[in-house]
Amino acid sequence: MLHSKTFNKKTRGGRIQKLVREVYLRDDIYCGALFCKSCEDKSKARLTATASTILVLDTNVVLNQIDLLENPAIEDVVLLSVVLQEVKNKNSSVYGRIRNLIDSPARRFVVFSNEFHRHTYVQTMAGESPNDRNDRAIRVAARWYQSHLGEAVKVLLITNDRENNRKATEEGVSAETIESYVKSLGQPALLDLLVQPASEDVIMEEVEDMRPSKRKVVYPEHKPMSEITSGLTKGIYHQGKLRVNRYNPFEAYVGSESIGDEIIIYGRGNMNRAFDGDVVAVKLLPQDQWNEEKSLSIVDEEDEEEDVHLVPGSADDAPRTSIPAPSSTSDTNPASSRPSGCVVGIIKRNWHSYCGSLEPMPMPAGRGGLVYALFVSKDRRIPKIRIQTRQLENLLDKRIIVAVDSWDRQSRHPSGHYVRSIGEIGDRDTETELVLIENDIDARPFSAQVLACLPPLPWSVSSTDLNKSKRVDLRHLCVFSVDPPGCTDIDDALHCAMLPTGNFEVGVHIADVTNFVHPGTPLDDEASKRGTSVYLVERRIDMLPKPLTEDICSLRADVERLAFSVIWEMTPEAEIISTKYTKSIIKSSAALSYVEAQARMDDSRLVDPLTKDLRNMNALAKIMRQRRIQRGALTLASAEVKFQIDTETHDPLDIGMYQIREANQMVEEFMLAANVSVAEKILKEFPECSLLRRHPTPTKEMLGPLLRTAAAVGLNLDVTSSKALADSLDRAVGDDPYFNKLIRIMATRCMTQAVYFCSGELSPPEFLHYGLAAPLYTHFTSPIRRYADVIVHRLLAASIGIYKLPTIFQDRPQLTSIADNLNYRHRNAQMASRGSVELHTLIYFRNRPTDTEARIVKMRSNGFIVFVPKFGIEGPVYLTMRGDKGGGEWFVDEQQQNIRKMDGSVSYSILQAVKIHLEVSEPKPNRPKLQLTLL
């Protein structure tokens, strides 16, 4: 069975070295055809006898046409190991996608390890380049397939390489280009998926013939890579990741380490075909060109406009506002503005597929002809993409996904190709799916391997769980949970007992998820990939499969459940005397909602033990909260809204601000305390590999907008520390009852988000959680819906010595990459929730034009941005007609933050209350948007 052959290979590791590797050529590699009579092993065979052709793909086809290959019309494909190896070296994301196709049982893709097969191994000939050798290997394999399978089927080599195609035909292998093969299938829709060959190819001539007007060069040339590298080392160029402003796609930032600041890039010309997320090389512009800011205008060059959106939750979501251009009085200080630059080259592209819709256009005369259409991504940071389609009439009203292929200097827009359509624009399911795709959220059902990791159902606490010395029996305690109404994934419960000494024993019991999710299992991998559960308005996308989320782990009332408990002994003054961490078994006596818990506490007639415990806890929580605020924790406000959803149609019935009760604050307080206690414990045991959560102190610059607004209304905020800010926020009480909350909401959005990190990566002072004013913080209390908590559970279990620390914790880079993924997923989940709420707001207002009160939060040259507290949304109100820019009729005073009519008759100032009218309008067909007008 073993045939040994050696071959020589020269590599360069500084100097030339001769390497000798063995290659064992085998005869137990099978062709993967179900109808093949000579191959015994059919376990991996997929190719069916019904197919008349079997496709052997060349590397360039896999690399370029992956979207086409993912279409189910392409079946019975043989992927040679030499092709896979080349694809893997050139583009790992395409490799991942092709591997998914191979693994998918629904598709008929097989791998043939031609490099280890006795008859298809080819040795490099003298003077042959590796590329030629690989091409020859592909041809040899294709020929072997044809002779192995006989005349019953046709083996077709698909290659877009002309030379390869020619040689194949010469050698008697039938070969075709991908275009001609797809045409022969007779499905015109498939042709849209084809990637047009890059412009330097032959087809360029045709393009020039067709569209001579577009031949002029729009963008400056990208510098060759060698020049970029030398420029980077000399310090002329700066490398960094391009981040496009979410709210103004003509402004981008490149965080550069070499100059330690962000470089601003204005306009598409300076961005020079770079996309958001690309790694680029930037050249700084001369300093006198640094002040090209136009960010004060709402409407920009291409008539794109700001939409009504949810109020940002933090600075990460908020529109980036640059430092205001120095007003005419302080013109002498141009150096204060930030450096701006232009992109000279792209080091690494971040192209992927984007969702959105086609720009409405008149239907061309002939049906089914090839037309060019412009695609507008839902993500405003992405420029319009030109695609070719033959099915325009089908796609116009659809949400579609489009991938970018190239962007040459001659074209204003990048060109791409259609990938697939999601559904009708405006349809709730389509738009929800869009929200999920945009935020890279995997909403697929769990795979069979993942579900196989679940314990058998129905599950109940068994004697083995009880007998373990690792677990304490706490079933005698009066444990209860308090959650939002209708909550099915209950991951925390509490208890409070009076001790004979007069002290209290307070316990926080968290669902013991790690008892069921073991490291290294498919279940754990999946959870770690998902990172968090996603809460949309009408559905929830779980991190763990439903049986775990809603039953086995959920600490429901009157059933025995496994828990991980933090138990404190506290004085009546809420001083913690001792802390104990243990795995336990509990039996919750009540699953209360916030409203129920509040009602019990308020109802003085009730004196049952549960209510007494609630009152004791509430008293303790109040003291703890007070103490936390004294330490400088910020009480920030959010403009969260809550929908009431029709159970039948799933349409929103009502919107209201989320109400916060004392009971919410009580639970929150104990969860915070548990998180802090756990953070201290795990950091003490594992100073190098703990997963913590930190909230960076906002910089002065980030707080700028808040300070300017406050100054305009005559309020002096002290932002030197979180304590000072908290105090001055407390003092900010105007005659208007809503004023304080408004200021707090504005403060919230100046902060960045808290992030997870690995404790070995940073120094202890950086561990600070600014918002909570806690030197250490982590997430422990929601393992059912957050993977970070699962990791912390494992750390805590190891730190109290009942389980071994999984090996992954010894690998710091991997731990850091997990933390990064968690941050990414966490943020995407939030964006998805916001997207879902925005979508439902739109649906809600579709048939309900409303008049309501709003507050002015930001000035623009032709209007202002208002915040609607009742619905938690924010949007522009125009004072002038669209199109006439500023008009000169209105005058904005930056210092006073107000906008006046030139004749002085009308003036609006910041935070002023105005009456507005909310209505859904459709300026373009099928593009509904919420419009705000002043009453």
């Binding site: 073993l2 040994s4 050696t6 070295q17 001769k18 390497l19 000798v20 590797r21 063995e22 290659v23 064992y24 050529l25 085998r26 190991s81 591997r99 191979i102 693994d103 791998v111 390890s113 490099e115 280890f116 090996t807 010894q810």
Partner: protein, 241 residues
């Protein structure tokens, strides 16, 4: 790096549980009392045994058993880059010691008191698993020299890469930095005489990996036995029996 591809093939085309090709030749050094060349794939080792003979350094003489000495070295040409291989470096001293201890455990030293047995092993070509190959070559050479032994000692290594136990690591797999378990056994007696690993591995995985290495040792033992039988037949034939 991917050491086992999703099709279940290793970088050199073997499957995880497959060994490299074995080759052995007895009697490569005419002057020695016993000698052998042993190959595992591209790893090639020559071993020569002298003795039992008079103890050269009287102070080292042991009165109730034979003195076993072992010297391991690597030929200058054994790896691709021409580096001078110092003789007395830490690595070769350690391997010499390991081989000596392993062989001592199977030689019936008490039958040859006040004598000395010298085992010289040299790596002619290195491609991972030199330690195992040296032990296997030494066993063959000892058998060729007719030195009384309890059993044949055979050795094989196994590793754990990409969450798969791999038998008989080659140089690329060996230098991946994963765990590398070298096991030496007395196959008939079913006893372990050598067990080395300088990495951390969970105990349950370790047991699997070690079991795999033991299977490898047994396969090598079968092969060595065949080679010895073949060699004996040749000797018989030459003596005209």
């Amino acid at each position: 790096m991917e050491f086992v591809n999703p099709e279940g093939l290793r970088l050199d085309g073997r499957r995880p549980l497959e060994m490299r090709q074995l080759r052995a030749q007895i009697g490569a050094v005419a002057k020695a009392d016993g000698s052998a060349v042993f190959e595992m794939g591209n790893t090639k080792v020559i071993a020569a045994v002298y003795g039992p003979r008079e103890v050269q350094n009287r102070s080292q003489q042991i009165n109730d058993q034979a003195l076993v000495r072992c010297e391991y070295s690597m030929a200058n040409f054994s790896t691709g880059d021409r580096r001078r291989k110092p003789k007395g470096d830490r690595r070769s001293t350690e391997i010499s010691l390991v081989i000596r201890q392993t062989m001592e455990a199977c030689i019936l030293t008490h039958l040859m008191p006040r004598s000395q047995i010298d085992i010289y092993v040299q790596v002619l070509q290195a491609d991972g698993g030199t330690r195992s190959a040296c032990i296997n070559a030494a066993t063959l050479a000892l058998a060729d020299a007719g030195i009384p032994m309890r059993d044949l000692v055979t050795s094989c290594s196994a590793g754990f890469l990409n969450t798969t136990p791999l038998l008989d690591l080659n140089y690329v797999e060996d230098s991946a930095g994963g765990p590398d378990v070298t096991v030496g056994i007395l196959p008939k007696l079913d006893k372990v005489t050598l067990l080395q690993m300088d990495a951390k591995l969970p105990i349950d995985t370790f047991e699997n990996v070690m079991q795999l290495a033991v299977e490898g040792c047994k396969a090598i033992a079968n092969y060595i036995r065949e080679v010895l039988l073949e060699n004996t037949k040749q000797l018989e034939y030459r003596r005209g029996l």
